[in-house]
Symmetry: C2
Subunit: 750 residues, 2 copies
């Protein structure tokens, strides 16, 4: 990063920004958590005892039990699982309770889709029982293929195939001269979070939305299908929510506050996150006759899927009737919450969570992660039985109602927000797990800490550490960061229960799981079962146990460290890369704008066009102004300087030199850095999302946008927002620097 | 190019090369052909008269007639077409004859392929008659799907799917632990010229080769299939040659000399270009049961095609029996050759050719180009009827037996080689044509000339010149050369009848045709018919007529120019880009070698590998030495200087200052530049290919390799060849410079 570093300095001195703090010694040897905040041998001894308790058989037995029946929120088995977990937590020495919320979750009452022209074709709309899968024959309490928070509706219209149904696809449709107004769109799953598709379709005037899993993305093109192999078979359907969670997740009727008891609730028709048109997911077997019946232009190459047909766009002559009606009721979400009170810092909370509700039997998603979390809690309980107590308060939780809208976690965070912002040090999330490589996303203040742990835990199959295995993959892929001392963790978008913690409450968060060698297509179908998981994923639960080891260490080190293992040099460097990629985007937007307008001036689109095909020139774009990124560069520079100042102070710290009170002060400052980078007004058009550094994309969903105020301003061509958020992010970084500097001063005894 | 230019100078002075000729005025205004060598108004008048004669109805009528029956070499209708064309040429005022050669062309006698395990499945191996296609029901004289110059054989073995069957695919197979020794391989068409697949399969020990057209590359994935649309229907088969033409094309029994009468012929078993294993093409309908029956690893993503299955690699359990026997006979190739003697320079020849043989009815390939050539010849005949005579000798020819091995043209060139090298000024080839954009490949000494013509001929649909239309497409595609004054022409590989002219005889050559808006899948099937062509390609023959206009102008200007329109600044610049891309390749080979060996040292492949899948580390590579490109840089620099010196001399030329004898001397020197860049020893392992600048790839076939001695040395890691051919190409460029300098001196009256 040296080259980049110099580049920034030059920019700074040229633009008359506040002088960058001189960094005398950026190459200072960084100390480890053990050097300053933990007794190495005591901690390693604790962790060995933790490891020795772990038993894969428990994961197997619990998964078999918990995934034996459908267990979506509101089902009897979801309540049973919550009680099952709560009782176990209790038996392991935790104070355990089940905290409930009353949340809106619609279930389907009428669910009809048929092709009505050019000929009438009824669709199967069911996933068949398979003799190779013991729970696939269950019919009681099974939710059929549906999208939660679709609108009610009965619509009949011509069909248009819209590829993934993301904004870029509508630009392509416009060039083909095709309008979806008054039509029903058919979109492939993929390319964005599913809820984006009906939202964008509605914005373009469509009156209905059908989504299907194309075999190219999620079926036989990828590999052998179930039950021969793990991939999605022809009738498999991906259920899932289409609530507009990039606006705000959680209960659509109680935005920003907990859906407990008889709080005031919006009327359903006033809830802004509920979809405005009917939406339904289908299998590729059911999509085939619809796609076959389309005429009109042949789909662009990148739109084509894996079905044995020529993909056409329409509109029509295929016409469908889509009739959906839902049972709009409040359901009870059961969150089993287990606490073990801290012996030294009881008001500093470390939380571990995984949801327990699934769409059907949900073995991989979420039970594989839930049982790893439970085994981790059990092992900590075993340590406690020997007389050991955690210094900080540990909270283990199983979230309910994650699937329809992150309801259990979001309502919990909203309800306890003040306490959380005051006391919670870190939230560590899992959401199912598989086989292969450790994936870690989260707050970059934790990047160095996670790497420390990943370098100490061995891969259960290859004889190397988890970090070394990931590094080997980066090397083979030619990744430019393969030799970086700490491997990068990815920034968090949305998509699991960390969302309210990091984006709404400013809690430093992590999300972890194994994957890469357990690909398949059971996701959100009835085939996500114990049989599928044990045949095609972590059947011997070796990786599930390894995940317990990783998270156990994270929890135990966070708990036992006198000074929390937050480190900011990596964070500053990562934020530097976010700034650079936003600058690059600004340049690309400018270049693309100029290029397009020049081509329009040259009439090149028309001259190069095929006169036999409709392919209109794209719209002329408004000019892109010059953006002054120097305030942001300056703030990042100052953040980097603060981070190194803190490192220097930490390295020079003498053991025992700080009072308990001083330690508490430092720890509060450290945890508050994440909150300092938030803003109570949040992001444009979505105040619930308060981090200035990360957010799920408003038009991509799960996918993260770094420095989202700036990035989405560029993408949506709101130049005023770009200018504004360059300033806002700079201020956020300066607030973070202030916290870090204050912590450093305490360490230095000032 | 200025930046590049300076870079080269620096390299030169640093390496002690011969001093580059100083270029005082590289920005000299280049003159047009009209300014120095033609009377503009006379020539434009001639060309208007030429245009006014052209009639699309002739193209239609001749195509309907010539494509009404199968007309492969040796068929009655091929002979009829040759006689039909010869008679017309004669009627238009040409001296016309049919020149014959006796060439080896095998036809199938036994042609059997079936799946014998895990269950017995017989394949259809036939293209059905379609009511929408009038000639598809013809059965007399139709050659079924076969590959010419396959070996005879009766083999039974397990099947292995090898993607496109090019060398890189075998590296991937090796990593999967799969060996094709003793197996029969199944390869998709595409990714290389078809003859590469059995050659590489044989080199790896396979005993048979099956090739099929996958619907992703050539079927329903691309668009609607015949007869609904133009693309390949499920039973369509691509016939074609598998003779090892990258070694030498033409009659395998008479390498380097004409197969006329009773010349000495190799024994069939001694002919090095005939394939050593049986090879057969099939349709995707017939490939489906074979692919379905394969097990073993799932194919890598990039290997997967468009059939509705999971692609597996094998080997087996699918096992096939392939039984082929051919009728190895000499057949007569009939080349109608029509001459119009030059009135001023009778010993300077300009040749126009298109083959007339097809694999079946062959309407697009080749008749669409042949009828355009015939109309062009007719219009020239009409000019001659008014008393005009060409200054140079014009030769129009229809080649026979192009399809099996470029036989008609290659034997003609070999037979007349001395005359050709002495007299032929240029060869202009076409090989069918479609709708859309003018594509031009050829000798770069003709690049400026072709651009001059393309800027004067209008597109028949869009109201712009052909050059402007191509430029618009380059602009829309963001091509970096879109604003280059002359649009680049592509360098020629092999694949049509220009091969012997440019690569063996050193004749400046061009290849032209329209395309880009007439995609389809009739290639080498019985559906390449008049019905298909008129429905889906140039049905009103507007582009066929436009091609006549372009080629007519090329011929007429070449014929009438006092000084031939060869120009070398573009040639030197293009050769500079070839050098740069070879340097870049050398760097990439070095980088990739180091990267791979480092990963092996780090054991990264193993650590990152999935323990449940066989995926072996790749082989360690030998180190790449440093290559000194400075001799080549120096020679290119000198060539550039010569080119500009010539431009200066040309611009300063006074009309009438040169004697007829001086003009002849200049013209001879200009045409000899292409020969000067050849070497009688040819390329490594294939002396027949003598150009040092261009060649078809030894392991890619059609695809061109620029500076092939160097490039293939790098690709095949023969470092000695790289060193040697850097020197050889440098010498070739210096020989070219000498010719150009000599021409310039004559122009300056020295």
């Amino acid at each position: 990063m040296k080259y980049h570093f110099i580049g920034l300095l030059l920019v700074l001195s040229a633009c008359g920004q506040p002088p960058a703090v001189a960094i005398d010694n950026p190459k200072i040897e960084q100390v480890s958590t053990f050097d300053v905040a933990l007794n190495k041998s005591t901690q390693h001894d604790l962790e060995s005892r933790f490891d020795s308790v772990l038993n894969p058989q428990n994961l197997n037995d619990w998964m078999k039990h918990m995934s034996s029946k459908p267990h979506h929120v509101g089902s009897p088995w979801s309540k049973q699982n919550a009680e099952f977990a709560a009782k176990l937590f209790e038996s392991w020495g935790f104070e355990s309770e089940i905290e409930t919320f009353e949340v809106l979750v619609p279930f389907p009452k009428i669910r009809k889709l048929e092709l009505v022209a050019p000929e009438k074709v009824s669709l199967q709309l069911q996933e068949p029982a398979l003799k190779e899968d013991a729970t696939s024959g269950i019919t009681k309490d099974v939710l059929p293929g549906y999208n939660a928070f679709s609108a009610d509706g009965n619509v009949t219209a011509e069909l248009v195939f819209v590829n993934y149904g993301i904004p870029a696809d509508y630009e392509e449709l416009a060039r083909m001269g095709i309008d979806v107004k008054g039509k029903i769109i058919l979109a492939k799953y993929g390319g964005s979070w599913r809820g984006i598709k009906p939202k964008v379709a509605y914005e373009h005037g469509a009156i209905g939305c059908i989504m299907y899993s194309d075999p190219k993305d999620d079926g036989y093109v990828r590999g052998d299908v179930y039950p021969k192999g793990p991939f999605r078979m022809e009738h498999g359907v991906q259920r899932g929510s289409v609530l507009d969670m990039p606006m705000y997740p959680g209960d659509p009727l109680t935005p920003g506050y907990g859906a407990k008891g008889d709080v005031e609730r919006l009327a359903i028709e006033d809830a802004p996150t509920i979809m405005k048109i009917p939406v339904m997911p289908i299998s590729y077997a059911d999509a085939l006759p619809l796609l076959k019946a389309l005429e009109g232009p042949v789909a662009p190459n990148s739109w084509k899927g894996g079905l044995p047909i020529t993909y056409h766009v329409g509109p029509g002559p295929a016409k469908v009737n889509l009739h959906l009606e839902f049972d709009w009721k409040l359901r009870t979400a059961y969150n089993p919450v287990a606490r073990m009170k801290g012996s030294v810092f009881p008001d500093e909370w470390i939380m571990r969570g995984n949801h327990h509700d699934g769409w059907a039997q949900g073995a991989a998603d979420p039970i594989s992660g839930m049982v790893s979390l439970m085994e981790e809690a059990r092992a900590i309980g075993e340590l406690a039985k020997t007389g050991w107590r955690p210094k900080r308060t540990l909270i283990y939780v199983g979230w309910d109602a994650e699937e329809p809208a992150l309801l259990g976690s979001t309502e919990w965070v909203e309800y306890h927000r003040d306490d959380i912002r005051d006391k919670m040090v870190a939230y560590i999330n899992t959401d199912g797990t598989g086989v292969g490589f450790l994936g870690v996303g989260g707050s970059h203040a934790l990047e160095k800490f996670v790497n420390e742990v990943a370098s100490e835990v061995q891969d259960p199959v290859q004889d190397v550490s988890l970090q070394d295995r990931n590094r080997a993959r980066l090397r083979v892929n030619g990744n430019k960061d393969a030799e970086r001392e700490d491997l990068r963790i990815y920034p968090l978008g949305a998509g699991s229960d960390y969302t309210a913690f990091i984006h709404h409450a400013g809690v430093p968060s992590l999300n972890l799981g194994f994957g890469g060698e357990s690909s398949g297509g059971s996701y959100h179908s009835i085939y996500d079962s114990y049989d599928h998981y044990t045949r095609f994923s972590d059947g011997d639960f070796k990786y599930g146990i390894t995940l317990s080891k990783v998270n156990g260490r994270l929890v135990l080190r966070l708990s036992e460290s006198d000074i929390l293992p937050f480190r900011f040099t990596n964070m500053a460097e990562n934020i530097g890369t976010f700034i650079e990629s936003n600058k690059k985007l600004a340049e690309e937007v400018k270049k693309e704008t100029e290029q397009r307008n020049r081509l329009l001036n040259q009439n090149a689109y028309t001259i190069a066009g095929n006169p036999k095909k409709t392919y209109l020139p794209p719209k002329r774009l408004d000019n892109v102004p010059v953006f002054d990124f120097s305030p942001l560069d300056g703030a990042q520079k100052r953040l980097e300087a603060s981070a190194w100042t803190y490192e220097k102070s930490l390295a020079g710290l003498k053991k025992g030199s700080l009072s308990a009170e001083q330690k508490s002060q430092v720890n509060r400052l450290l945890k508050d850095v994440e909150q300092a980078m938030s803003h109570p007004d949040g992001l444009p058009r979505r105040p619930w999302f308060q981090s200035m550094i990360y957010a799920p994309g408003f038009y991509t969903g799960y996918g993260v946008k770094t420095l989202p105020g700036i990035r989405e301003g560029l993408e949506e061509r709101n130049w005023d927002e770009v200018h504004k958020y360059i300033e806002e992010v700079a201020k956020a970084l300066d607030r973070a620097s202030a916290k870090i500097n204050a912590a450093a001063r305490i360490l230095e005894g000032d």
